[in-house]
Every structure is written in structure tokens, then in C-alpha cells.
């Protein structure tokens, strides 16, 4: 018996999505401590991605005036990344970091050994600051 799959684009029908191997893609390439490639950044200093039982966790340290600022820990959502990294299928993450005064929605992936984060920042206070998008790059520091 065959099942008719719903779709809204051809990628939804990619056989890799139904491959059991895709469901158990390893996060190894993302795990570890990642340091910003830009020593002058005024944004994110470093990112740590760890296993937390059956799940993953993402910890970020922002650049502060008197040292790093720890962000609230996030539990990311995991996605199969249909791009290949070094000939292997990989995973990508999305994670949301939330404070009373702002929220940062991020996507995180590794490309050629570099961890890339894109963050869309929404301010929730009345500071007049404007919502913005930014991207930063990180190298692994084990």
C-alpha cells in the first residue's frame, strides 16, 4: 500500500525526508564551544551547543561592557539540513532566546566548518530601538 504525501513544494517529497537515517542524523558537527571569528564583535562572543539528555541545549554569551553576558539557555528545534556538509547530511537548529525587553529568533548551521548564526531581534520595551537582523560567524574551540 502506498501513501499519498501532501506537499507544497517538490522538496516536501524528497525521499531523504522519509529515510529513517535522516531522523537520526547526528549533531556532532554542531556540538561544542564556538568563538566569534570577529574579535571586535559587539554582538555574540561565543556559543556552546551541548547534549541535554535526549535534547540539545544552546548557551550564548553576549559581549558586555564588563565581561560576557549569559543569555537564557534555549532548547533548539532540530531540522534535517538538505544541504550536505563534507559529503554528509547534517542538521540545522532554530532557537528562540527571550527576555522581557527583547527576543532573538535564530537559525544555526555549520557551513564548511564554520558555525553561522542568523538572528532576528525584536525589542519589547519602549526604548525606541528598532527590530533588526544580523549574522555572525564562529570557529570551533575545543
Amino acid at each position: 500500500m502506498t501513501q499519498t504525501l501532501s506537499f507544497k513544494q517538490t522538496s516536501d517529497l524528497n525521499p531523504a525526508l522519509s529515510d529513517p537515517a535522516t531522523k537520526i542524523l547526528k549533531a556532532d558537527k554542531l556540538l561544542g564551544r564556538w568563538v566569534n571569528t570577529n574579535p571586535e564583535t559587539r554582538g555574540i562572543a561565543e556559543i556552546s551547543i551541548d547534549r541535554d539528555g535526549e535534547h540539545l541545549s544552546v548557551d550564548i554569551a553576549g559581549v558586555g561592557e564588563q565581561g560576557p553576558i549569559p543569555w537564557p539557555r534555549a532548547r533548539p528545534r532540530v531540522f534535517a539540513n538538505l544541504e550536505e556538509e563534507a559529503g554528509q547530511r547534517a542538521i540545522a537548529l532554530t532557537a528562540t532566546f527571550s527576555w522581557e525587553f527583547m527576543m532573538a529568533e535564530t537559525n544555526i548551521r555549520v557551513n564548511k566548518g564554520v558555525l553561522v548564526i542568523v538572528l532576528s531581534v525584536t525589542f519589547r520595551d519602549n526604548s525606541g530601538r528598532l527590530d533588526y537582523v544580523n549574522r555572525e560567524f564562529f570557529y570551533r574551540q575545543d
Partner: protein
């Protein structure tokens, strides 16, 4: 609220925005029809971004096995190039198709839109949720 009073999680966000800076958003770099640079894509073929500063919208057309699939119009949340910038530099949007939810997160880089799609299946097809990143160029019609 002055600069010393603003809360921040990274120094980049410690800015004071005056009324002159916080003028109307400049959406000119975002408006238009954006074409996928990959002719072999199995994802979104083109996006049409239109509307006003107050209510910009997106209409996506995806590539299906038998031709184009109109995803319909969706609201855009626009993001600027920085916390004190007037220039639009990206957006987020979402579609709920019933069997799946699709989140879009876009950023303009070097004249291209870099679009990340994340797809979460809600049906019982047992397909893995997936992530796709693609590039879109503006159909400017000049050359």
C-alpha cells in the same frame, strides 16, 4: 529612556534612538519580485513583496511536480539593518498549510535575499522536519 537605562544582552544593542533616526522604515530594498538563483530548486521559485510600510506582504510561488504552486499572501515582519537603522534588511513570515508549517527567515546580503525555510510536518507521514537555505535575486528588469 537614555542610553544608560536601556537593557541589553550584547553591547551592540546599547544604543539610544532619537526621533530623527527612528523615521519611517525604508522598504525600497525589499520590494519587488525575487527569483530563486537555482534553476534546479525544488523549493520556492519566486517571492513577490509588496504593500505599504504599515502592511508589507509576501506572496510565494513554489515549484511543484506539475508546475507552480501559489502559496498565497502572508504578512511580513520586517527587520532593519541595526537597532538604529531605517533600512529594511530582512523579514520573517510563516505559512500554515495544515499538514505542515513553514517558517521563513530572510536577510538581504550583497543584493541577494538569503532565505532560510524551516518545515515542520504535522501529518502522520513520518517525514523529517527540514531546513533549506536558498538565494533570490531581484528581478529589476534593467538589463
Amino acid at each position: 529612556m537614555n542610553e544608560a537605562q536601556v537593557q541589553f544582552a550584547q553591547v551592540y544593542d546599547r544604543v539610544q534612538v532619537d526621533s530623527g533616526t527612528a523615521g519611517p522604515i525604508d522598504l525600497s530594498g525589499l520590494m519587488g519580485t525575487w527569483i530563486n538563483t537555482n534553476p534546479d530548486s525544488g523549493g520556492i521559485a519566486r517571492m513577490v513583496i509588496s504593500g505599504s510600510n504599515e502592511s508589507p506582504s509576501l506572496r510565494a510561488y513554489a515549484i511543484g511536480p506539475d508546475g507552480s504552486i501559489d502559496w498565497g499572501a502572508a504578512e511580513l515582519k520586517v527587520f532593519r539593518a541595526g537597532p538604529a537603522s531605517r533600512v529594511a534588511a530582512g523579514f520573517t513570515s510563516s505559512y500554515d498549510f495544515g499538514f505542515a508549517e513553514t517558517q521563513l527567515q530572510a536577510m538581504i546580503l550583497k543584493g541577494l535575499i538569503v532565505l532560510v525555510q524551516t518545515h515542520h510536518f504535522k501529518d502522520n507521514s513520518n517525514r523529517a522536519d527540514y531546513f533549506v537555505r536558498e538565494y533570490f535575486g531581484l528581478d529589476h528588469g534593467r538589463y
